[in-house]
Symmetry: C3
Subunit: 266 residues, 3 copies
Amino acid sequence: MLAKLPRANPDGVVLDLEDAVAPNAKADAREHSREAGAMLAREHPNLAVYIRVNARLTEWFDDDVARGVPAGAIGIVVPKVESAADVHAAAHALDRAGLHELSILAGIETVAGVINVAEILHEPRVGACYFGAEDYTADLGGVRRADSLEVLWPRSRVAAHAAHAGVLSLDQVVTELRDEEVFRLDAQLGRSLGFRGKLCIHPTQVGWANESFSPSPTEVERARRLIDAFDHAAAAGHGTIAFEGQMVDEPLARRARAVIAGAAEE
Amino acid sequence: MLAKLPRANPDGVVLDLEDAVAPNAKADAREHSREAGAMLAREHPNLAVYIRVNARLTEWFDDDVARGVPAGAIGIVVPKVESAADVHAAAHALDRAGLHELSILAGIETVAGVINVAEILHEPRVGACYFGAEDYTADLGGVRRADSLEVLWPRSRVAAHAAHAGVLSLDQVVTELRDEEVFRLDAQLGRSLGFRGKLCIHPTQVGWANESFSPSPTEVERARRLIDAFDHAAAAGHGTIAFEGQMVDEPLARRARAVIAGAAEE
Amino acid sequence: MLAKLPRANPDGVVLDLEDAVAPNAKADAREHSREAGAMLAREHPNLAVYIRVNARLTEWFDDDVARGVPAGAIGIVVPKVESAADVHAAAHALDRAGLHELSILAGIETVAGVINVAEILHEPRVGACYFGAEDYTADLGGVRRADSLEVLWPRSRVAAHAAHAGVLSLDQVVTELRDEEVFRLDAQLGRSLGFRGKLCIHPTQVGWANESFSPSPTEVERARRLIDAFDHAAAAGHGTIAFEGQMVDEPLARRARAVIAGAAEE
């Protein structure tokens, strides 16, 4: 499956040593991930390869960092980060293993992680983060809902603090494996809240995520019309226009320009 | 009504000296609550008996604590707690009255209380808390909505900080006395947000609350099937399974085990 | 348009030097706003006249404060306030210009502004604030939604901290110019969250805003019936009543009294 994964065109891949691996299989998983990760990084230079280690206070953490990281990986995913101290511990483990260039993708997926998110994401070694709704709700003692209202507060908080810290943010997993509508609705809300992408648990979800986090052709087309009208008005000294029933001033024009720039990057 | 109340099978009861008692009836209410509370505690040893005193800065607070607490009560409910200083004042009043064993159930129901919730709930004398939507909205100058979206932020915040502080959290009252559907929808969201139970204002609501905050038979049944499949896969070295269209790994298995354990406690 | 504006009966007016004015038109706009603002203040003594200056770190800020403020204005609107330091800078600029009586209406419309909202709104020179959803979402890198769920957290946070700081709060703009239903639904949620009024971008919206932020005749009528019943019961020593299927105690009675008082002020 790993060899075929790049066909789905993800921006990155996370090889998991944590929840996806049973306790008695951790050592084997390290070896396998190191080899498979190195192959992926070698054959797909644009693919960001990460390894997810076990949480800091588990018995596996040190060996995961020392022996599980493939050549060519750009970082480690540290689950259940709860404080700046957790980031320091991961950074020290990376440095002890000689992995000075690798950054940390921090999992914010506990109540403590959400409460302490500001100090965590401002740590310089943290380059990215994700919000994990399943683990968060389990830690909280709550229950997942189809509408995700129960995580609107932590999810909003994580995306906003990530933007404030200049850290890339990834939205929660959708555990329903093949339900496209559920995935797209969830991704749409995630993008609205400021997340830059989404964790996927199946290759099928990758295409949906890529589409959901890029402006649609309709959005791009509307943004172009808006900028035409706005620039035309600005040349005549007007800073505000009525455009298709909506008042448009500088902030909306800025957003339209960002949509066009985002589309041009594809 | 108090004598019949235990038939509804609540986990606890709060005898109110605050909002339910007119200013000119406070002294009588103290005496009555002391007697009725002592009787309830004596006849129903598993029932947690609380007395709600008036807020700290009212003229009634000191006498409520000194003279209103029944024998056998396990704590006092302090409404409108706004800071750690309010908790200290209540703790000192309890100590002066010789009630060293009683804990505080803190009402978080003002804007200041929601903003300072972390310092309040981490006070060691606080054993539990509730979120009060009616008082919060009145203090805020807002308006209640049928969908409770206006309190999603403070409600999420209180439940999460309670989980972080290791404090039992109780969800908001539903003032519609006999509307079962309204109560159950509200309770469902409260449970999703991490509350452990719900304040009730009528015996009829108690049964709905008990059902809403316990896993349903369908949930328990599904959790058992999930754990069977998961353990079977784990024995074969797999940490992740596809179960009824959903990806299941350790966090979801943990939640399923919690559901089964919760049902076994009933 | 400015001369006709008071017919729509707004509580205040903001003359904009920021987003509505193209960069090459800033100097002309200052002169025009000073004259038009002074005329409005002179002819409509009950109208609160504000001038919106450009953000602190722009090249226009100092001249806007020094030369753009009309006689009779009661304050300046400072967009994109991100910290207490931004408030200090604006306060100093006002003092340098000899405008010691003018207060600051702070725009909370960036991620940093929302995160630092407590320190901003507790600055004594800040008399009011608004939440700006368009700029906030642009700064966050998010996307606006029809249901505004993407700004529920920042919007709730701003209104609550404004209430805590004793600062008047104004709800987000609705950019759809003539869609009454969209405006009223948005205003209803804004009022529920504790905002005291709403920024309008067209005279048509002013009447909708005034109605949305005042109690409706039905609300006032119900409040009167409730208070009648409540006071009657209180005279007989009861602090709680069942009123039209709802339990009513002191907090609900307090809200009803506020509704009646609000209607009497109109």
